[in-house]
Symmetry: D2
Subunit: 103 residues, 4 copies
């Protein structure tokens, strides 16, 4: 099952600077061969369910090993039985409506 | 890795009544032997990562098969390297603070 | 506009124990006259949009003042133009389907 | 209080195509003078609490008026007592760590 996911991962407690943790997780997602789009509030991920969830679990484990005792992850998951538009198509589709509305 | 999860699953489009879908998913979670607490805005789930995620994937698949072409799931995941308080202990711990504050 | 909300608030960095923060926020929600149901992964809140959001903002502000420099809040919001079932009715409605399925 | 928000809004039931709804909401956010970054799984918004929440409420109301009886919104909110890095700085900061790790 192909899914599209928005993922963010926040350590509970400890050092409030997160850029290094996010970079570590980013690398893990890429190593799993996933299509990944980092944005300012999380990361969009496209792939099949098992690969995405294996990668997300690996992020949790890597951050625990890097000294983060508690983690708070948020996943938004879109699944579609008959396929979804790609990330790029989704954004383009909204922008077409915006242009039309501005005419 | 043990996790605690808050899970909600909303079909995109189609029949706006969701109780039957939620009940179907509830049953799947229970069949996976997970500790499950249904509440008005989602379901809290306690278990090891793989069992929880297998059950959540089964919910998505069952709802697709039941005629929901697109699904929107939201997962909040708390993982802890060194174990977490149980659900009951968490609520009790907040309530103790409430009582103290009211004294 | 009446809404139903699931709310959780996690400090980024600092003391990883959250029960006191959650209790403080709980009290603020109650002081705003909202219907509030604490559960193990967050708090369900029922009320009109402005009161709910004023209370949620007050939670953020109170925790900043209590020494939490950065906060991560997650809100799930259900709004309905023509009214929603109450929290209790929602849970009962799912449970009726569970009983029927078990017959 | 300045906040950074990740926002998504999904109609429950009805037409499963959402691009027009998202475009309508996008326009409302822009009309409120907010810094807005659309991505494939939601929209990142930067602004002060009251303006952001007024705009998000206006999105809910506009979609109800456009014929969506029930809506499911998800908001992730980062608030900081002492200011946050901008969206661009956040992404750049993660990318610097990625480059360093690749060296």
């Amino acid at each position: 099952m192909q899914i599209q996911v928005e993922f963010s991962l926040v350590p509970i407690g400890g050092d409030p600077h997160l850029a290094r943790d996010i970079a570590l997780c980013q690398q893990i997602l890429l190593e799993h061969g996933l299509h990944v789009e980092l944005h300012a509030m999380g990361t969009n991920i496209e792939g099949d369910w098992d690969t995405v969830m294996t990668a997300v679990r690996a992020c949790h484990q890597a951050l625990h090993q890097a000294g983060r005792p508690r983690l708070y992850g948020v996943l938004k998951i879109v699944s579609a039985g008959d396929g979804e538009k790609s990330f790029a198509e989704k954004v383009a589709s909204v922008q077409r409506h915006l242009v039309t509305a501005a005419d």
